[in-house]
């Protein structure tokens, strides 16, 4: 119970920081919409729907990367992570709280991105939305851990994409598969399995990432 209270306090703090600083979500929204606009003009008029779906996933993935690159900015700039790490609460609560706030930012960005995608390309169906929802969980779980790792490095802007993109390949496979396959359940299952597996790994290993 105490653990969940810690997670709630940390996630609320991140949302409050974003509400006041507004330095992550507006950038994500602008990025995803402008990327879709660019893709709209880049893609030839007679292109298949499959190509448009692929481009949506590219836009979502890089939007997530943009948000993740700012995930620990407040902690890094003021050294706050040391204060959090020394608290008696379980250190994985820091990861879970941050993952939840990242998940909220992704969901908000997609609330804007999906209608824009429907406007520029094609209607959005339930399989696509389900795939994106499951992909978001994996992106938030893995991305938060990797963002914490990258934060400790001087080359953090370079390191995060290098670590994140290879680990996001199964998310892309599952997400695109769920969006275009006639029978999406298999791909949604893959995404669910990825989420569960990596959430456990990230939850268990976060402690070692935030201590020297």
């Amino acid at each position: 119970m105490m653990y969940l209270a810690d997670v709630g306090a940390l996630a609320r703090k991140d949302l409050l920081l974003e509400l006041r600083a507004r330095d992550t979500l507006p950038a994500m929204l602008l990025f995803v919409v402008s990327t879709l606009v660019v893709f709209h003009f880049v893609l030839p008029a007679d292109s298949s729907d499959l190509a448009a779906t692929g481009l949506l996933w590219v836009a979502l993935l890089f939007t997530a990367l943009l948000g993740l690159s700012r995930a620990f900015a407040a902690e890094r700039e003021q050294g706050v992570i040391d204060g959090l790490v020394l608290a008696p609460s379980d250190r994985s609560a820091i990861w879970l709280g941050k993952s939840l706030s990242i998940l909220a930012f992704l969901a908000l960005a997609e609330v804007i991105a999906l209608p824009a995608y429907a406007l520029f390309f094609q209607p959005v169906d339930a399989a696509l939305v389900g795939g994106i929802a499951l992909a978001d969980v994996g992106i938030a779980a893995v991305g938060t851990l990797l963002a914490a790792m990258a934060t400790a490095s001087r080359a953090r802007e370079l390191l995060l994409p290098l670590l994140f993109l290879p680990l996001a390949i199964p998310i892309v496979i599952g997400g695109v598969g769920a969006s275009v396959a006639g029978e999406p359940a298999r791909y949604l299952g893959l995404l669910g399995l990825y989420d569960a597996l990596f959430a456990i790994i990230c939850w268990a290993s976060f402690e070692y990432v935030v201590t020297e």
């Binding site: 105490m2 209270a5 810690d6 306090a9 940390l10 703090k13 409050l16 920081l17 006041r20 600083a21 407040a74 700039e77 003021q78 050294g79 706050v80 040391d82 204060g83 959090l84 790490v85 020394l86 608290a87 008696p88 609460s89 201590t211 020297e212």
Partner: protein
């Protein structure tokens, strides 16, 4: 509380600490001095459990939540108010009656009037006072202070000295400073680095 033997810390090829030995008991006050770059901050991070030694023995005989760590940075969120920062730490550090304790500390360190102001709008001295409130919030058994007088005006420095005087008998201290003469009267042991 802390026992260090042949302590060594390296970052890559660079050796920061070598052969450091000391003990800190329950009511000891270890004063750590040394020139810039001598490894004072690194030693304090080791004592807080924020870093692991590269070689040697370091026994930390305290629970993680019982240490109060004052660093160079205030370890507070700039976009949160003084009150919100302390409330967050109070929750995470399981401070009983945290609202009363927070209010008492803010008043004691002269920040009550600024409690609803964001930390980002604070001067260096006010940030240091807020950092001291954060450090003392959970009444730690071990206080690890890195240049505690840094940025404080005369009034702030006096407030800190008073706090150290009051807490001296109840807690152990590891304090790094460039002004050893200011803290000499509290010290029970000294460690010169570099």
């Amino acid at each position: 509380m802390i026992r260090a033997r042949a302590l060594e810390k390296r970052y890559g090829d660079k050796r920061i600490l070598r052969g450091v030995e000391f003990d800190v008991g329950t009511h000891d006050f270890l004063l750590v001095t040394g020139p810039n770059g001598s490894g004072k901050t690194t030693l304090l991070r080791l004592c807080a459990g924020l870093a692991a030694p590269s070689r040697g023995e370091l026994d930390l005989g305290f629970a993680r939540g019982r240490v109060g760590y004052l660093a160079h940075e205030p370890l507070v969120y700039r976009e949160l108010t003084a009150l919100e920062n302390l409330d967050l730490y109070g929750r995470l550090y399981r401070v009983p009656e945290r609202r009363e304790r927070t209010g008492m500390l803010l008043e004691r360190f002269g920040l009550w009037e600024a409690r609803h102001a964001r930390a980002g709008s604070f001067s260096r001295g006010m940030l240091q006072r807020l950092a001291l409130c954060r450090t003392l919030l959970h009444e730690p058994d071990l206080l690890i202070l890195d240049e505690p007088h840094s940025g404080l005006d005369d009034e702030g420095a006096l407030l800190l000295d008073r706090e150290l005087m009051e807490r001296r008998a109840d807690a152990a201290f590891v304090v790094a400073t460039h002004e050893p003469e200011r803290l000499e009267r509290f010290a029970s042991a000294r460690l010169a680095l570099g």
